[in-house]
Structure formats: structure tokens, C-alpha cells
């Protein structure tokens, strides 16, 4: 009995120990994913210890694209059982991933590692991602895993912790997806560009994707003109509004890896006045499509690579009986799904006794995600002699990429009765015009570069400027300005010369007047007045020459001024000596000391000095 009790206690302990052992497990939110489709990888640590685990190491996501994360979610649960209640804490790390385009599955995600609260190293399980179509009902919001709890959320604070998990970081983005990554040459690959935005924003495409190496057909949009139709979608835990921006049907032109370049656009919020703000530039990924060569097995010679798809062939004439010279319209129609625009319609064979004209080709494309429609070639043929002509059966060979085989579509032979008389021109058989001019092949033309979708078109300002008035003004103004400058300079020089001449004339006039007055004083015997006049004429001449009043200057001040203005010292001394002599004669008690001869000499000296002052290159202006 005691033994049984002991055994029960051991079992109970073992059970409790098992319950207490932390678990660390990884999972993904869906069993299979399509290439490019986001999915969530979770790894959850459950333990009965409180606290934060340390040293979390995510697995190596080799072969996958990491779109976001990790986001960490923590929770606390009360677990009842094992003879009591215990508190269990969970920590979940989540990553948003996608399988890279072109990856072949399955992709294995290795173990994650973390150090538990007890210090032990924990390793999660590996997870395998199967590549394929998305599981039904799982293309929308991935479900976040949560540990079951028997208590209302929030009772133990788990609500708040859960809300601390990732803040909304939803950013707009463009996604380019192709319905297939490998296709035969000429087989349709549908590429869809989708806009993901957290809220509706102004969308402005800036760069259209380049699809060199493909023939491209735009699939008509189902959006109303000028706006997008949005659907709500949960993407990696974030709520998005999703719109199809563009869909194109691409047909590879040659085998090999072909690239569809990224689409680029600007998205922005719009304020009350319609002005964009918080502008973001977004760009889709480039897509690589592998174009496979068409199978050689069963391929007819000279098979045109545009004839890939499912087509039917109809041949008809608008009348079965005509007269010679009347025109008959022979219509060859190819209908079906594929690159209808470039499908090579079988040539009309040579019909003896008939003349043909240039055919008219009409292509009608239908809406829908798959390129389909019809190509009609109308031949105008005219019989030149009577009889019955059989238009032979025409054969269209195409490759069906679904069944991976070559298929023949054949028309029925058609008889045309021609009545009346043969025309002169029917002397010999005339061939019907060839479907294509000689020497031309039927290769599919390459796709054109897409339109430019900037906000405003560029303007060639240079070209407009060249033909405008601005250019003529630019041509005329510089030489005119140059001539103007030259003229102004010349006029100023002339004016300056005139000024000097005027000044000199004035000097002479002053001198002549004063010297006459001095001579009159001499004749009248007024010696003092004579010397006053001589001194005045010299000082006035100097004032006029220097443009500075020198009347009140003392002898030494005048000497310094003359030296500063460039009068040679010897001449300055002569001038000062004459002025000193005048002073002496005026203020000497006996009046004039040497009589008339001295006055005659003084008059001559003054005249010579005036001439000297007039000719001397003295600096002018300023102050004394």
C-alpha cells in the first residue's frame, strides 16, 4: 500500500515536472503558400516561469523573403490541472515571410533558439513550407495564434500585453505578381500590379514597367475611370486596402529568362485643398519569367512562335457565284485565346485565273484576363476567266500550351462559280498577292516602351525659347549694351577734356584781368595796390587750378599744399618768394622799395608764374 502510494507520488511528480517543462515550438499560418504570397511564421515559448526569455535566435530564413518582423506577443494564462493551478506565460515571435518567385518547394525553415528562464537552451522544431496554390479561405488575414485561456482576456493583464505587440507599421507598397513563372514562348503570362495602402491615398504612377522581350497586351481595367476599386485585405497582420493598378498579358518572344522591370509610383495623402502631403515613393519588385522553347516534337517546319494558344479557323466568301471581273471578298478568321494580334494566318494559295489585292487585316480583342479575340483578313479577289475555282482548305497549326501539343485547325474547301467572258488580262494565270511582301518574315514585333506617367509633361524650354522673342532679345542686348558702354565712356572722356579746357580759359581770363589792373596801379603810382593785385592774381590762379581756396593760407601751409599737389619744389619756392616779396612791398614803411623797374620785373615774374601754374599737372579737388 505504501509502495503504491509512493509510486503514485512519483507519477504525480513526473506529470507536474512534464507540465512545468517549457515548450518552444514553431508553426506557419497556412499549409501551403503561393510564390510571393506573404505568410506568418510563429515560434512560441510556453513556460510556467515569469520573466522575459533571453538570447532569441530566429532560424535562417534562407530561400525566403523576410517582409516584416519580428513582432513579439506575450501572454499569461492560468492553467488548472495536475492537482492545482499554475500560471503559464507565453511569448510568441512572429515573422512575415514570402517565398521568393521562382522557388520550387518545399522550403524548410530550420529551428529557432532561445535561452529559457531557467537558463536552459531551447530549440524549436523545423517547419516545412509547401509551395503551391494558397489554401482556400486562407488568402485573407492570417490568424494570430493565441494560447487558450479559461479566464477572460485582460483578467491577468494579457490584454494589455497583447496590445503592446507590434504598433501599426502598415506602409503602402506595390506588388507585382505573375500567374506563372515559367511559360512557353508565345504563351500568355498574366502580370498583375496591385496597390496596397492602409487607407485610400492619392496615387500617381511615375514609372511604367518595361517588358522588353515580351509582346504585351493591356488587359482592360475593371476600375471606374479615374479611380480604383479597393477591397480590404489583411496582409501580414496589417489591414490594407488593395486595388488592381494594372494587368497585362505578356507573351514571351524568345526562350530565356525575361525580366519585367518594377513599376514605380507616388502615393500621398491629400489635404482639404487637394494638395498632396506625406508623399511616398513606392516600387514593386521586378519579375523574372522563364520562357521555355516550344517543344520540337511534332513541330511543323517554319512554325511561327506567335501561334501559341487555342484557335479556330474560319474561311468564307461573300458570294459563291460571280461574273468575270466582279470582286469576291474572301474572309479568313482566326478566333481564340492567345496572342491573337500576332497570330500568323495561313497564306492564301495562288489561284489560277484570279487577281488579288492587298488584304485588310482587322484585329478585335475581347476583354477579360485572358487575351482572346479574333483576327480577320479580308482578301479582295477578282476572277479573270470563267469556270469553277476551288479555294483549297487552309490549315492553321498552333501549339496548345495547356495540352502541350501541336493542334491543326482546318477549313473546308470552297467552290466559286465564275460566269461570263474571260478578260484580256487573263491570258495567263495571275497569282494572288502574297499575304506578306516578299522578304518579310512574320516574327512578332517586340513590345514598345511604356508611356511616361510623370505628374506633368516635360517642356523643351530651349526649343520654345529659340523661336520666341526672348532669344531675339538675348541676341540683340549684349552687343547693344557693349556699344552703349563704349559710347558712354567716349562721351565722358570728351566732357572731361572740355572741363579742363574751360578751366584753363577761366584761369587766363582771371590772370589777364588782374594783370591789367596791376599795370593800371603801376601807371597811377599806387605801389601798394599794385602788389595787392599781384598777390591776388597769383592766389586766385592757384585756387582755380587746384579747385581749393588758398586765399587765407600762410606761406608754409601753401608750400606744403603745392608740394602735396605735385608742384616741383623749385617752382613752389619761386612762387612763395614772389608772394613774400608782395607782402614785404605792401607793408614796408616807405611803400615800394625799388620803384618802377622793380614793379616791371614783378609783373613779368607774376606772368611767368601764372603760365607755369596753368601748365603744371597738379592734382585737383579735396581740401587745403
Amino acid at each position: 500500500m505504501r509502495l503504491a502510494g509512493l509510486a503514485a507520488a512519483v507519477v504525480l511528480l513526473a506529470v507536474r515536472a512534464a507540465v512545468a517543462a517549457p515548450s518552444f515550438s514553431a508553426s506557419i499560418d497556412r499549409p501551403a503558400v503561393a510564390p510571393g504570397q506573404p505568410f506568418i511564421y510563429h515560434v512560441t515559448l510556453v513556460s510556467n516561469s515569469q520573466g522575459q526569455p533571453e538570447d532569441f535566435k530566429p532560424p535562417d530564413f534562407r530561400g525566403l523573403q523576410l517582409l516584416g518582423g519580428p513582432s513579439i506577443q506575450t501572454g499569461v494564462n492560468m492553467v488548472m490541472g495536475g492537482g492545482g493551478a499554475s500560471v503559464e506565460s507565453t511569448v510568441t515571435w512572429s515573422f512575415q515571410l514570402a517565398v521568393a518567385p521562382g522557388t520550387r518547394g518545399p522550403v524548410s525553415i530550420g529551428p529557432a533558439r532561445v535561452r529559457g528562464l531557467g537558463g536552459q537552451q531551447l530549440t524549436s522544431n523545423s517547419v516545412s513550407v509547401r509551395i503551391g496554390a494558397a489554401a482556400p479561405g486562407q488568402t485573407g488575414a492570417p490568424q494570430r495564434q493565441r494560447q487558450p485561456s479559461m479566464f477572460p482576456r485582460g483578467l491577468f493583464g494579457d490584454e494589455q500585453e497583447a496590445e503592446e505587440a507590434p504598433a501599426s507599421t502598415a506602409a503602402p507598397f506595390l506588388r507585382a505578381t505573375a500567374d506563372k513563372k515559367r511559360a512557353y514562348v508565345g504563351e500568355q503570362v498574366t502580370v498583375t500590379w496591385q496597390l496596397f495602402v492602409p487607407e485610400i491615398q492619392n496615387y500617381q504612377p511615375t514609372v511604367q514597367p518595361k517588358t522588353d522581350g515580351f509582346w504585351a497586351e493591356d488587359i482592360p481595367s475593371t476600375n471606374p475611370p479615374g479611380q480604383f476599386t479597393y477591397t480590404n485585405q489583411n496582409e501580414g497582420g496589417q489591414q490594407y486596402k488593395v486595388a488592381v493598378v494594372q494587368q497585362r498579358a505578356l507573351f514571351p518572344l524568345a526562350p530565356g529568362k525575361l525580366t519585367v522591370s518594377p513599376m514605380e509610383a507616388d502615393v500621398a495623402h491629400v489635404d482639404f485643398f487637394g494638395r498632396p502631403f506625406r508623399l511616398r515613393h513606392i516600387k514593386s519588385d521586378a519579375l523574372v519569367i522563364e520562357a521555355l522553347p516550344l517543344p520540337k516534337e511534332g513541330q511543323p517546319a517554319h512554325f511561327p512562335s506567335a501561334n501559341v494558344g487555342r484557335f479556330t479557323l474560319d474561311v468564307a466568301v461573300d458570294r459563291a457565284a460571280v461574273a468575270v471581273g466582279d470582286a469576291v471578298t474572301l474572309t479568313v478568321t482566326v478566333r481564340g485565346a492567345g496572342n491573337v494580334r500576332n497570330v500568323v494566318v495561313p497564306d492564301l494559295p495562288t489561284l489560277a485565273g484570279w487577281k488579288g489585292y492587298e488584304p485588310k487585316t482587322t484585329v478585335t480583342m475581347e476583354g477579360g484576363a485572358t487575351a482572346s479575340g479574333s483576327k480577320t483578313i479580308e482578301w479582295l479577289i477578282r476572277p479573270e476567266r470563267p469556270g469553277t475555282t476551288t479555294i483549297p482548305a487552309l490549315t492553321l497549326v498552333s501549339f496548345d500550351p495547356t495540352d502541350r501539343r501541336y493542334v491543326e485547325a482546318k477549313s473546308q474547301p470552297i467552290d466559286v462559280q465564275v460566269g461570263g467572258q474571260a478578260t484580256d488580262a487573263s491570258a495567263g494565270p495571275a497569282p494572288v498577292a502574297a499575304a506578306t511582301p516578299a522578304g518579310l518574315d512574320n516574327v512578332i514585333a517586340a513590345e514598345i516602351r511604356p508611356i511616361r506617367a510623370h505628374g506633368t509633361p516635360s517642356r523643351s524650354i530651349g526649343a520654345s525659347f529659340l523661336h520666341g522673342v526672348g532669344f531675339r532679345l538675348t541676341l540683340l542686348m549684349p552687343p547693344l549694351a557693349f556699344v552703349g558702354f563704349a559710347l558712354v565712356g567716349r562721351v565722358r572722356a570728351r566732357l572731361s577734356r572740355d572741363e579742363r579746357r574751360t578751366s584753363r580759359r577761366r584761369l587766363r581770363s582771371i590772370a589777364r584781368r588782374r594783370l591789367h589792373a596791376a599795370a593800371a596801379h603801376r601807371e597811377a603810382g599806387r605801389a601798394a595796390s599794385f602788389y595787392v593785385e599781384i598777390e591776388r592774381v597769383l592766389r586766385e590762379t592757384l585756387s582755380e587750378k587746384l579747385r581749393v581756396p588758398v586765399a587765407g593760407l600762410r606761406s608754409e601751409e601753401l608750400g606744403a599744399l603745392l608740394a602735396a599737389r605735385g608742384l616741383p619744389a623749385e617752382d613752389g619756392a619761386r612762387l612763395l618768394a614772389v608772394l613774400a616779396a608782395c607782402d614785404e612791398a605792401r607793408f614796408s614803411p616807405g611803400g615800394e622799395p625799388a620803384g618802377r623797374p622793380a614793379q616791371d620785373e614783378m609783373l613779368e615774374r607774376a606772368a611767368a608764374l601764372i603760365d607755369l601754374i596753368e601748365k603744371a599737372p597738379l592734382a585737383t579737388g579735396g581740401t587745403a
Binding site: 504612377p205 506578306t436 508611356i451 509633361p457 526649343a463 549684349p478
Partner: protein, 255 residues
């Protein structure tokens, strides 16, 4: 009186600015409408919108290019070729336009191709002038020309020791102005030589300016011709080999 005149001047300037602004808005709106219609697959509406932008006299390579794409998608290869030719005329370095022009010509050749025997190449000066855009030639000349005069006038106030260097600089600028001026003169002359592109898939080129004249030869979409004369609604066109004839003016798009 003076205040009234000043007020009138302010009003006139404001009117001019407002008019320019309104025109720019009209251009942008039509451009956006064209792009949206194109992306929607409504190529006829796109053509109409781009033509509306074109009528504003924008001289834009982008507008011509998008118009070409819209015509191409619409299946109108002649007009598409014409539009791509215009885009290249605006910007000879527009590789996208050259690429699309090439594609449109290839496609047009599948329908019909004009073989011109004895075709002469454009003379060297024409190829030289055509190798640059009008904008590049204009700005190069204006830059050299203005700089030359600035240096020439500035020499008067320059320090004595700098004058030889300024004279040498002015000589170099004069050479640059002459070379770019010659290029620009070539451009102006070339612009006066009207070229055009055949728009319909096929036209009959007549011996005279009337539908009753005999047909000299047929021409097909995308054929580049030189317009040498006109008579009411008819144009006399010359092919690269000198062959001439008359066509309706509406059938030829001027580049």
C-alpha cells in the same frame, strides 16, 4: 494718376500670371486624363487628351512620345510613327522614342513597306545638326554668347594684369559662340525644311494637286517625306531619292 497707372500695371501682371497658371493647369489635367485613359486601355480617349496637350504648343518630347504609344496601341501605325519622329525631333537623345519608332516601323513593314531605290543619305551638316537637340544647341550658343560679352565689358574694369587672360578667354568664348551659332543656324534652317510622315496605311501619290491626276506611286504608313510645295489642300512631297508627287495635306503629318 500715377497710383491708377500702377494699379493697372499690377492688375495686368496678375492677369498674365493667372492666365499662365490656368494654362498650366489645363495642360496637366489633360495630360493626367490621357495617362489614365491609356492605362485603362481607352486609347482613343488617350489620343484625344494628348492632342489637347499638344495643341497648347508645349514642345514636349513626353507628349509626343505618349501620343505615339497611344496611336500604336490603337493600331494607327502611321500617326504613331509621326508622333515618335516628333518626339525625337524634340529630343534626339530620347532612346525610348527611337526604340518605339523602330518597333512601329517594323510592324508597319509587315503590312507594307516602301522600298526607295537610289535613296540619298542626308548631308553631313544635317546629320550633325540633327544629332543635338534644339534645346542643347540654343543653350550652348546663349551661354557662349553672353559669357563673351560679359568678359568683354568686364575687361574695362579689370585690373591691368588680368587683362591678357580676359582677352584670351574672350577669344575662346568667341570661338565657342561661333561654333554653337553655326550649329544653331543649321537648326533654324533645318526647322524651316518641312518634313512629314505618311499617316494612312496607304495613299496614292498623284502627279498633280487634284484627285483626278494620275497616280505616280503609292506610299505607305510611316514613310518620311520632305514637303516642298503646297497648293490649297494638297502638298507636293519629295522622297529621299528625289521622286516627287502630290498628296492630300491631311494624309501627311508634319514633324
Amino acid at each position: 494718376m500715377r497710383a491708377a497707372l500702377r494699379g493697372l500695371a499690377v492688375v495686368a501682371v496678375a492677369l498674365v500670371i493667372a492666365q499662365g497658371r490656368a494654362r498650366a493647369d489645363r495642360v496637366d489635367e489633360a495630360w493626367r486624363r490621357g495617362n489614365e485613359a491609356y492605362l485603362r486601355g481607352d486609347y482613343a480617349a488617350a489620343v484625344a487628351a494628348y492632342q489637347e496637350v499638344d495643341r497648347q504648343g508645349l514642345a514636349s518630347s513626353d507628349v509626343a512620345f505618349n501620343l505615339g504609344d497611344a496611336y500604336f496601341r490603337k493600331g494607327a501605325l502611321g500617326p504613331a510613327i509621326w508622333a515618335f519622329e516628333r518626339a525625337i525631333a524634340f529630343d534626339p537623345n530620347d532612346d525610348d522614342a527611337r526604340y518605339n519608332l523602330d518597333q512601329a516601323r517594323k510592324l508597319a513593314a509587315r503590312r507594307a513597306r516602301d522600298r526607295i531605290e537610289g535613296e540619298d543619305k542626308d548631308p553631313a551638316w544635317m546629320r550633325l545638326v540633327g544629332g543635338w537637340s534644339a534645346a542643347t544647341e540654343t543653350w550652348a550658343f546663349v551661354g557662349f554668347y553672353l559669357a563673351f560679352f560679359v568678359v568683354l565689358v568686364g575687361r574695362r574694369w579689370a585690373r591691368h594684369e588680368w587683362r591678357p587672360a580676359l582677352i584670351a578667354g574672350a577669344a575662346l568664348l568667341a570661338v565657342g559662340a561661333l561654333a554653337s551659332g553655326a550649329l544653331l543656324a543649321g537648326r533654324v534652317y533645318l526647322d524651316r525644311i518641312p518634313f512629314g510622315v505618311v499617316l494612312p496605311d496607304e495613299i496614292a501619290v498623284k502627279e498633280g494637286a487634284d484627285v483626278n491626276y494620275r497616280t505616280s506611286f503609292d506610299a505607305h504608313a510611316g514613310l518620311r517625306v520632305r514637303i516642298v510645295d503646297h497648293d490649297q489642300d494638297w502638298l507636293r512631297v519629295r522622297l529621299a531619292n528625289g521622286l516627287e508627287g502630290w498628296v492630300r495635306a491631311q494624309d501627311v503629318g508634319r514633324i
